[in-house]
Symmetry: C2
Subunit: 127 residues, 2 copies
Amino acid sequence: MDETLRTRQVVHAYVDCAERRDWAGFGALLAEDVVYEMPQTRERIRGKPAFLQFNTEYPGDWHLAVRRVVADGRHAAAWLDTRVGAERQEACVWLEMSDEGLISRITDYWPEPYEPPAGREHLVERW
Amino acid sequence: MDETLRTRQVVHAYVDCAERRDWAGFGALLAEDVVYEMPQTRERIRGKPAFLQFNTEYPGDWHLAVRRVVADGRHAAAWLDTRVGAERQEACVWLEMSDEGLISRITDYWPEPYEPPAGREHLVERW
């Protein structure tokens, strides 16, 4: 199978399995030595068991949906719409695949709302 | 030329032209009706003239470098290392191309550092 196509399918399956709490399916997509990073908090999780535990223990009634997946060889980026209860947030996820087509590296960004700086009101509209 | 390859080249050129303040080159990559959005501040800029002005007026000694570009047909994602003076921040940028291979939509996320929630110290390392 074409590498980009395989990567795209794996990333969709990663999000879908998490949303369905299909942890067997989710784990089957991960390399044993997967590394998960959240640069905003400078947190890193190493290895499939710890990363699975992180996900299964993650608190709240959280939901994930793909807004867009961009796949390019062994690399991908996923733009997600997430929700915990009534609170919605977008996420930007960067992924890398191993030789075997398993997810070997995941970097999550959780950008939060902030107030725009002054001085550009003449160029922008708000929503 | 292959659409994905063209998209990848345009995205690299977009970052490189901005970094070099090559506004003629930068503008030549943009569709006339380009839409730029920053969802964190709910700001939107419409059209090439306003978006060019936004960039040329952007304050500070800012610098951009590509960490990764993922291109997939007319879609791309760019992971950037940015710096203003000594302050460094990563950015996640989502791009779409027009029929003519020009950038028609840009969505920027500027994720800021935050403190991790309690309860996952047993799974993570910090850096």
